[in-house]
Structure formats: structure tokens, C-alpha cells
């Protein structure tokens, strides 16, 4: 693994850093989850919150995966949905 790939598992704390108190963090998380659901709709992959810390992904065939964060989520969702997700190609 090269230096670039090695960093794929890092740099995540920023996602929660813009909000500080617990209630605000939860609201942001739920909002984020709703947005992710819309992004994944075309892939027919569903996503749910898992104990407020992780996400559960389900493929159209029922395969399930638990991921720790958004960075892991996108890669796993692409595999489960067999479809690449590119924000530069999403419909507006």
C-alpha cells in the first residue's frame, strides 16, 4: 500500500467537527443519513443508523454490511450496489 492509499482510513474527524454539542451532532447525523439515502437510491442500497456510531448497508439482494463512517460507506455501497457513485455525475 502506498502513502496515498494508506490515508484512506484517516481524515474523518472533520465530519463531526463543525458541530459541538451532542444534540446538534445527532441532528447532523440524521440529516446526513437522509442525504446519503437519496444518493444511494439509484443503487438500490439502503442505509440505516447503527447505535448512533456506525451505519448498516443493505444490498438489493439482502446482503448486509456495517461500516464505521462515510468514507467506508461509499466504497462498500458501490460494491453492494455494483454501481460507481460519482458526485460529478449525479443529477442536480
Amino acid at each position: 500500500m502506498c502513502g496515498l492509499c494508506g490515508m484512506l482510513d484517516d481524515g474523518r474527524r472533520w465530519l463531526d467537527a463543525a458541530t459541538l454539542d451532542r444534540a446538534a451532532l445527532r441532528r447532523e447525523r440524521m440529516l446526513r443519513l437522509a442525504i446519503v439515502r437519496r444518493v444511494l437510491a439509484a443503487s438500490r442500497v439502503t442505509v440505516d443508523d447503527f447505535e448512533g456510531t456506525r451505519f448498516v448497508l443493505r444490498s438489493p439482494t439482502g446482503a448486509t454490511e456495517i461500516v464505521d463512517n462515510l468514507f467506508d460507506l461509499w466504497g462498500r455501497a458501490e460494491k453492494l450496489g455494483k454501481r460507481r457513485i460519482d458526485p460529478l455525475e449525479l443529477p442536480g
Binding site: 502506498c2 490515508m7 484517516d10 472533520w14 440529516l31 462515510l70 449525479l90 442536480g92
Partner: protein
């Protein structure tokens, strides 16, 4: 946390000369220096006169050349060794580290190494990335060498060197580097009151942002600058950015932003290199000018003109937070 500043720049662009000047500043007497070179012969560190005449233990020479993985291992070992010596009192308790990279080095893996190593990330903080740019040969180097373009693309500050020589066209040099990196501050080494000030922390984006920057398709590195007049919602923005970096992080050399986030009075500064996003910093006040979000993306091999429509669609289209707030 000890800041680690990186001094990069193409071969012969004046890195060591600048480093010497910086180290002569009494305020920077407590600096440790790391030098990364190609090959096993450590030439450059003999030129760092302050170190030669002072405590040689302050210098750890990295011999990894410019292969990113080798450099990474050497950097980890070098920094751990420096920290150990400091902790054991074998070297003075230095307050900062300056890393001078080889002229062919890609700065990004160094920054990744610093953030990824479980021991180093709690001891050293990323400082400022400064790239030297040769007024006489820089334009030709930019045209011929992708390494030179990448060093300029990743830098926080770009220092024009040898501008006192006849024929140096400072305006053309500034334009050339800003086409690659509109977010960096460009400084003339002749104008700097104190060379050490070049490495002082600051928000480069507040002074170095150039909204007139446009993608330059003649270059493999292109940048786009985006201005948003309305406060942006953090949730859709963070989802969008995580998705953008997931899909195109390898091509994204640098992303910098000063954001007007809904619900916050002060600006939020964001800084990313490839997939690595540093924790946002909450700043106390806005720079001069209208209060609005400013974002710069510098990428290699990516059609950067597609970034702004994508972001605007995400913030205002079917992913808009106002519509989705009903789910709470």
C-alpha cells in the same frame, strides 16, 4: 504538539539558501531540521551552516530519495528519533521542525505520513508547506516537470527566489503559479522583512484566494475557485465532500476553503490533500471583503469545471437540507 514545516521546491530553486536565512533568525534558534535527499550522500546538510556550527544532533538526514513509501518509513524513523532525543535531553527542547525535501519530492506523502503514524500524529502537527520557485528557471521547470507543478499545487505559500537577477519577470511568475494554485500566498523573497516569517502560521486563503482563477486545460493540473454568497449547510456539504474525495481523492491535489457555515458566526477553515481532510478550524473573524464562502480545488487529471455545478446542485437540489430537515 510540535509544528512541522515543510520546505519544498524544485532542484536548485533556493531551498537551502532560504533555510539558512530562516535559521539565522534568533526567533528560530529552537528549530530542528530534517533533510531528505536523493541517494546516500548527504550533501545539503553540510550547507546548513547553523547546524554545522551548532549541535549536529539537531539534524536527521533522510536517505529515502523520492519514492514515497521509502520516504514515509524514513520520515517516521527520523521524527521518532528526533523526538526520543528531545525527550531524553540529548538535544535541546526544539519548538519546531523544518523538513527540507529533495527537489523531486512529492510533498503529499510527507503530510500523509505525519497524519497517519499513530505515534507521530499526537506529537507533531502539520505546519506550513512552503515551495520555492526559481525566477530564472521556474517557468521552464513548470512546463517540463510534473514534480515542479505538484510542489506548487500543494504549497500553502510560494516564495519567488532569485528575483534580484536581471530578467526576472515577477508578474509573469506570479501569474504562472496562481494558474496552478490560486489558494496559495505568493511572496517575493526580496520583500520578506524576516525570512522566518515565511513559515509563521496563518490562514493563507484569506490573503491568497484569487476568484478569477479558471481551469487551464493546457496543464494537467487545473484549479477552480468557487464563491458562495449564501451560508452553506454543513450536512449536505460534508456528505458531498466525502463523496467527492472518495471518487476523486487521488486526483485532488489540494482543497482549501473558508466557509460561511449556517449557524456559525465565524468562518470555518477547511484544508484537504488527496483523501486527507484536516479537522476544520473555527476562526474568530472574517477577512476583509464580503462575508461569503470561498473554496479552491486543485486537481490533476480531473475536469474541475464540473465541481461547482455538482456542489451547487447538492446544496440547492434534491439533497437540499431545507427539504430534508423534515426527517428529524
Amino acid at each position: 504538539m510540535i509544528p512541522l514545516h515543510m520546505l519544498t521546491g524544485f532542484l536548485g530553486s533556493g531551498k537551502t539558501t532560504l533555510l539558512n536565512r530562516i535559521l539565522r533568525d534568533p526567533a528560530w534558534a529552537d528549530s530542528a531540521v530534517l533533510i531528505n535527499e536523493i541517494g546516500a550522500v548527504s550533501i545539503d546538510h553540510h550547507l546548513v551552516d547553523r547546524i554545522e556550527s551548532g549541535d549536529e544532533l539537531d539534524v536527521v538526514v533522510l536517505k529515502g530519495g523520492c519514492t514515497c513509501c521509502a520516504l514515509r518509513g524514513d520520515l517516521v524513523a527520523g521524527l521518532r528519533e528526533l523526538y526520543r532525543r528531545r525527550a531524553e535531553g540529548l538535544v535541546p527542547p526544539f519548538g519546531r521542525v523544518v523538513l527540507e525535501t529533495t527537489g523531486l519530492a512529492d510533498p503529499a506523502p510527507v503530510l500523509f505520513t505525519l497524519a497517519a503514524d499513530p505515534a507521530l500524529r499526537h506529537k507533531f502537527a502539520r505546519g506550513v508547506v512552503v515551495a520555492t520557485f526559481d525566477a530564472m528557471h521556474g517557468l521552464a521547470q513548470l512546463a517540463r516537470h510534473p514534480e515542479a507543478r505538484k510542489q506548487i499545487a500543494v504549497a500553502d505559500r510560494i516564495v519567488l527566489t532569485k528575483t534580484d537577477l536581471e530578467g526576472a519577470d515577477t508578474r509573469a511568475l506570479c501569474a504562472a503559479v496562481r494558474r496552478i494554485n490560486p489558494a496559495a500566498a505568493v511572496l517575493d523573497t526580496q520583500d520578506a522583512a524576516t525570512p522566518a516569517g515565511l513559515l509563521e502560521p496563518g490562514v493563507a486563503l484569506s490573503t491568497g484566494f484569487h476568484a478569477e482563477a479558471r481551469p487551464d486545460h493546457s496543464e494537467d493540473i487545473a484549479s477552480v475557485a468557487i464563491l458562495l454568497d449564501r451560508p452553506l449547510a454543513w450536512a449536505p456539504f460534508s456528505v458531498w465532500l466525502s463523496l467527492l474525495l472518495h471518487a476523486h481523492g487521488e486526483k485532488m491535489l489540494r482543497h482549501k476553503a473558508l466557509l460561511d457555515v449556517a449557524g456559525w458566526t465565524g468562518p470555518v477553515a477547511l484544508d484537504a490533500i488527496h483523501h486527507l481532510v484536516y479537522p476544520p478550524r473555527h476562526l474568530d473573524s472574517w477577512p476583509a471583503g464580503p462575508r461569503r464562502s470561498r473554496l479552491v480545488f486543485i486537481a490533476q487529471g480531473l475536469r474541475v469545471e464540473r465541481i461547482e455545478p455538482s456542489l451547487r446542485a447538492f446544496l440547492a437540489g434534491e439533497y437540499a437540507w431545507q427539504e430534508l430537515s423534515a426527517v428529524q
